[in-house]
C-alpha cells in the first residue's frame, strides 16, 4: 500500500487566456478527509476535472493508488475506484432516480458485455446488491418518495442530493465531492456530515470542495486553499482560519 492515495504533482492547466491551475501539488492520504477551498474561479472544479480525467492536463502528473493516471480515460479512472460529483448537477435527466443510482454502481461490478446481455446468475447477484445499496442511499437522502420519477423533475436540491447519493453507490476508494452542501437544507447537511464522517471513520477517503465553512471546518482534518490557480495555504482547520492570506482572499472579514 502506497502512503499517498492520490498524488498530484505540479499540475498546470490553461484555458484560452486563463491559467486555471499552476504547479499545484496535492497529496491525499488513505483514510483522511481533506478539503479544498478557495474563491470562485480559483480552480477547484478544474482540479477535479483534471484528476478524474475529464480534462487533459497541460503539464504535471496524477498518481492514484500508486498508478500513473495522468493520461488515463475518465472511465478507466472511475473503475480504478475514484468517484466524483459534479458541482453543476448533471444527473441523467430522463432516467429515473432509481436508474441513476443503478447506473452509478453497475460499471464498478466487473463483468463483460456477454454476461451483461444474458443476465448470468452473477449479474443477478450484482443487481441485488445494487438495489439494496440504492435503498439505503435513497433513505439517507430522503429521495425514496421520488425514486421512480425522472431525475429532471426533481427540485434543484434534490438533484444535488441525488448527485451525492450516486457517488456513494459504488464502494470507491476515493470520493471527490464538489460543493455537496450547496442548495441543501440544514437538516440534510447535518445528515450528510454524519454520513461522511461515518464512512471516513470506516476508512473511506474524501477530497471535498465546499463553500460552506461550517461544514468544512467541522469535517476536515486538513485543508488546502487555492487562489488564482495556485496553492496559497495548507494546514489544519485552525491554521487556515487564522491565515491572513486566506482571510483576505476568501472569508473577507
Amino acid at each position: 500500500m502506497p502512503d499517498t492515495l492520490l498524488e498530484v504533482r505540479k499540475l498546470t492547466k490553461h484555458f484560452a487566456g486563463v491559467t486555471a491551475l499552476l504547479d499545484v501539488d496535492i497529496d491525499v492520504y488513505p483514510g483522511e478527509l481533506l478539503s479544498l477551498i478557495g474563491p470562485n474561479g480559483s480552480g477547484k472544479t478544474t482540479m477535479f476535472n483534471c484528476i478524474s480525467g475529464l480534462l487533459k492536463i497541460d503539464t504535471g502528473s496524477v498518481r492514484f493508488k500508486g498508478a500513473d493516471i495522468t493520461r488515463k480515460r475518465p472511465d478507466q479512472i472511475a473503475r480504478l475506484g475514484l468517484r466524483r460529483t459534479f458541482q453543476d448537477v448533471r444527473n441523467f435527466p430522463n432516467m429515473t432516480v432509481m436508474d441513476n443510482l443503478l447506473m452509478a454502481i453497475q460499471q464498478q461490478q466487473e463483468d463483460n458485455l456477454i454476461a451483461r446481455a444474458f443476465r448470468t446468475p452473477r449479474i443477478q447477484e450484482y443487481e441485488a446488491i445494487a438495489y439494496e445499496r440504492a435503498r439505503d442511499v435513497l433513505e439517507l437522502t430522503e429521495l425514496t418518495r421520488v425514486k421512480d420519477q425522472v431525475a429532471g423533475s426533481l427540485s434543484y436540491g434534490q438533484r444535488k442530493l441525488l448527485e451525492f447519493a450516486c457517488a456513494l453507490m459504488p464502494d470507491p476508494d476515493l470520493i471527490l465531492l464538489d460543493d455537496p452542501a450547496a442548495a441543501v437544507s440544514a437538516t440534510m447537511i447535518t445528515r450528510m456530515k454524519a454520513y461522511i464522517r461515518e464512512l471516513n471513520q470506516q476508512g473511506k477517503t474524501f477530497l471535498v470542495v465546499e463553500h460552506n465553512m461550517k461544514v468544512v471546518m467541522d469535517l476536515s482534518q486538513r485543508i488546502i486553499v487555492l487562489d488564482h490557480g495556485q496553492k496559497i495555504a495548507e494546514g489544519t482547520p485552525d491554521m487556515i482560519r487564522s491565515d491572513q492570506k486566506v482571510l483576505e482572499a476568501y472569508f473577507g472579514d
Binding site: 472511465d75 466524483r84 448533471r90 432516467m95 436508474d99 464498478q108 443476465r119 459504488p170
Partner: protein, 335 residues
C-alpha cells in the same frame, strides 16, 4: 421488478404475434401482398437497427443506408464469387458492414448531434456517388443485374428460393435475431449504459462507462444487421442499384423511429408497419384512382398530422390510451 416472474400478457402478446407472422402469407398469398409484408419486415428490421444508435445512444446517423446499400453490393458482387448461399451471403454482408460501421464509428463519433447527422449524410452521398460513378465495379446506374436467386443449404437438401412467400419465410430468422439482439442490448445493464451515454457522455464516463465503446457497440451491431438486410434485399430484388443508397431510406427511418417512438421497440415496430402500409393503402384507395403526386401530398399531410398531434409519437399515444405510465422517456429498469 422481479425478473423471474413471467408476465402472462407478455407471453400471450409474443405468441400471438408469432402466429400472425407465420400464417399471414398463407392467409393473403397474393404476390403483391406478400411483397408488402416482406417490405414491412425489412423496414422493421432496418428501423430497429437504426434505433439502436438513434434511439438508445442518441447518435442519429442519416447515413445508415450505406450499410444497406453496400451490404447489398457485397452480396451482389462478392458473395456469388465466394459461392456463398443465402445465409452465407447475409453473414458476409453483416460482417463486412459491422466492421465498416466500427471503423466509421470511430471516425464519426468525434462529432455529435446535428453535425454527426449531417456528417453521416455526407458519407452517404459519397457512397452513393461512388456507386454511381465507379462504373467498372458497380455498373453505375445500369445496376448489377441478375443477382442469382439464393439457395438455402440445409442438412440433407438445398432449397432454392424464388417465390415471395419463400423469401418471406427466409427473412423471418433475421427478424427474430434482430428482436433478440435489440432486447438484449437495450434493457437492463447495457440499456442503462446506453441511456447514460445518450443523456450525458461526460457524466457517464465519470461513472466508468466508456462512451465510445457503447456507441460503437450500438452502431456496429446495427450496421451488421442492416448489412445482412441489404444482402437479403439484393437476393430478393436480384438487382442492385445506386438507389439502394438513397437518402430517402434514411429519411424514412428517421420518420419511422421518431414518429413511432424512439428507443421503444413497440413504437418503432408500429411506426415501421404504419409507414409501410400507408403508401400501399393510398395507392389502392378509390380503386387506385388517386394520382401518385396526390398520394404523396396525402402521405405528407398524414405524417405532419402524426407529428403535430402525437407529440410523444405513436408509442406515447398507445401508452396514454392504455393508461400506462405517463411518458417522459423512461428507460430500462424493467423495460
Amino acid at each position: 421488478m422481479n425478473n423471474a416472474h413471467i408476465d402472462v400478457r407478455t407471453v400471450l402478446f409474443w405468441g400471438i404475434s408469432a402466429v400472425i407472422l407465420l400464417i399471414l402469407p398463407q392467409l393473403f398469398p397474393l404476390g403483391y401482398l406478400v411483397n408488402a409484408m416482406i417490405t414491412t419486415v425489412v423496414w422493421i428490421i432496418f428501423a430497429l437497427a437504426f434505433d439502436l444508435s438513434a434511439g438508445h445512444v442518441g447518435a442519429v446517423s442519416l447515413g445508415h443506408a450505406v450499410f444497406f446499400g453496400v451490404g447489398a453490393y457485397v452480396a451482389a458482387i462478392a458473395a456469388p464469387q465466394l459461392g456463398l448461399g443465402y445465409f452465407g451471403s447475409m453473414g458476409l454482408s453483416a460482417v463486412t458492414m459491422g466492421i465498416l460501421a466500427l471503423i466509421a464509428g470511430i471516425a464519426f463519433f468525434r462529432i455529435a448531434e446535428v453535425s454527426f447527422a449531417i456528417g453521416t449524410l455526407g458519407a452517404l452521398i459519397i457512397a452513393q456517388q461512388i456507386a454511381n460513378n465507379a462504373y467498372d465495379l458497380t455498373n453505375g446506374p445500369m445496376c448489377i443485374q441478375s443477382v442469382p436467386n439464393p439457395t438455402i443449404h440445409l442438412p440433407g437438401n438445398a432449397i432454392s428460393v424464388t417465390q415471395p412467400v419463400e423469401y418471406y419465410y427466409a427473412l423471418l430468422p433475421l427478424l427474430l435475431l434482430t428482436l433478440i439482439v435489440y432486447r438484449l442490448l437495450t434493457t437492463q445493464r447495457i440499456g442503462r449504459a446506453f441511456a447514460s451515454v445518450r443523456e450525458d457522455e461526460v457524466r457517464a464516463s465519470a461513472m466508468g462507462v466508456h462512451p465510445l465503446r457503447y456507441k460503437l457497440l450500438a452502431f456496429s451491431v446495427g450496421g451488421a444487421l442492416i448489412g445482412a438486410l441489404g444482402s437479403f434485399q439484393a437476393q430478393y430484388i436480384t438487382v442492385v442499384c445506386p438507389s439502394e443508397l438513397a437518402i430517402d431510406y434514411t429519411l424514412t427511418m428517421l420518420i419511422i423511429v421518431f414518429v413511432g417512438g424512439a428507443g421503444r421497440m413497440r413504437g418503432v415496430v408500429i411506426g415501421a408497419i404504419l409507414f409501410n402500409t400507408l403508401p400501399r393503402i393510398l395507392e389502392n384507395i378509390g380503386g387506385g384512382t388517386i394520382p401518385p403526386a396526390y398520394q404523396q401530398v396525402i402521405y405528407g399531410l398524414i405524417l405532419l398530422g402524426v407529428v403535430l398531434y402525437m407529440p410523444d409519437g405513436i408509442d406515447g399515444l398507445i401508452t396514454r390510451l392504455t393508461g400506462g405510465r405517463k411518458s417522459k422517456r423512461q428507460v430500462v429498469t424493467d423495460a
